[in-house]
Symmetry: C2
Subunit: 248 residues, 2 copies
DNA sequence: CGTAGTCTTGATCCACATCAATTCGTGTGG
DNA sequence: CCACACGAATTGATGTGGATCAAGACTACG
């Protein structure tokens, strides 16, 4: 397995899997060339910390592949996940020097980094970047607010069902995009990470997953592979029947 | 008391109390003039609903004065506040036709509205607006994430202390800006609204406020007026000693 | 005064946390 | 190939913080 920075990756933006969804999505050819000059890649192994809250962070970045998490902690160790970073998601805040959250690689990840200073300067001149970043930030804000409803008002069972819905929904296109029924996916998170996501303990997560299995809402093969025979049923269990947790 | 739209307010942007903090903060004179042409004011009384989630919303707006809330609800009536709108905060999302949340006036409020279409068109041409909106959205996202930590991991007492800290902090400049000790303010929210903010029941809110009073952390005069003899003590009670809940 | 809304306080209950073993799965070294 | 070790997950027993149910108390207002 690759160690951090041992195999400097090279990738041209034209071939980039997130070219059309990341912060650069709206950029035209000239702008992409300019970005190409200031970008570099870093990879992290599953479990590694990308940055600690409070540390100086001299870059911003897009997640190219893999999954990372944003977490906050209280002094006594209680921790809450506040963001789940999927490919194309953006890390770091232009105009702020320190990291506000812990960023941790959940799987092996590849990040496309931009040194902060040149990126900020370019953002000033390049409305396409600011516009896209605004869109993405508004989407994240909506997701955060949906998540607040989950944290504040849902039961443990509803929380688990909501999380499964979100992951299922995200992986759905990878399967047979059409049918709502019989979706299958791998959980990218440990029970503990799920607990931190949902504001529960890992024991409660485990119990509720067992309960959903017992009730036939989900089928497990191993600890991590899940199939959902009836997606509508799962959405019902999640509490917010309409759309399963994410705004369109 | 004024009814909705009965007394159309007129205010020039030059005299506007939120001129330097709202979405128009970065606009130069020309841009402000252009905004002045497409803006109009609406006022709402305490308790009135500004929009319902799902309704078509043909404007975006800034809160000029007063306080409003953003809430989400599950079908069975459980509700969670997901945003607290103070003067200068922005309502509505460019590029989306329906409202995502219920917006309710908590006090009498005055809003500076822009018809969505012209505003969106202007935003395309006017980086100053998009840039400012991006800043504001990033701030809101940080606040939402701090709030997620509160909802997911804090105890009822810590939640109440956190809320009081936030309100105290916001009102602090209005008092004698210097000292950390002896802060005084009015709660702008009912017990029920606080409960919806914090993911608690109103009974628990009431009990915890009584407990903080009993323990000398706060002093109440009437139901709504609070003074805090020792702000540091309150911050300790909030759990995150450093800054009381809001990033700088 | 009476009525309605807001708030407080008490008694009880229960969902989830906590504490404590097992079990499962995977990799490692003899 | 087995023994064992270690982390991840399950499952059980018990405790508790906050919800729920239910009276009252305070305030404002007609």
């Amino acid at each position: 397995m690759a160690h951090d920075d041992v195999h400097p990756v090279s990738l041209t933006c034209g071939d980039c899997p997130i070219r059309h969804r990341a912060v650069c999505a709206r950029c035209d050819v000239d702008e992409i060339e300019e970005l190409e000059d200031i970008k570099y890649y870093r990879s992290f192994e599953a479990g590694q910390t990308v940055v600690w809250a409070g540390d100086k962070m001299d870059f911003v970045a897009s997640v190219v592949s893999g999954i990372a998490t944003l977490t906050q902690t209280l002094e006594d160790g209680r921790t809450q996940m506040v963001g789940l970073l999927l490919p194309s998601d953006f890390v770091g805040r232009p105009g702020r020097s320190g990291a506000a959250y812990n960023v941790t690689a959940t799987t092996n990840i590849l990040m496309c980094c931009f040194r902060k200073k040149p990126f900020e300067e370019m953002m000033e001149r390049t409305p396409h970047i600011a516009q896209r970043l605004l869109q993405m930030t508004l989407d994240e804000l909506d997701a955060a607010r949906e998540w607040m409803l989950l944290l504040g008002r849902k039961t443990a069972r509803e929380k688990i069902a909501s999380l499964l819905s979100i992951v299922a929904r995200r992986d759905a296109p990878l399967n047979h995009a059409a049918q709502t029924s019989e979706v299958t996916f791998d959980l990218p998170l440990t029970r503990e990470a799920m607990a931190d996501y949902l504001g529960l303990t890992l024991e409660t997560v485990s119990r509720q997953i067992s309960a959903l299995k017992r009730d036939g809402v989900i089928v497990l093969e191993g600890k991590r592979h899940v199939s959902v025979p009836d997606m509508d049923r799962l959405l019902m269990e999640a509490g917010d029947d309409s759309d399963g947790g994410l705004l369109i």
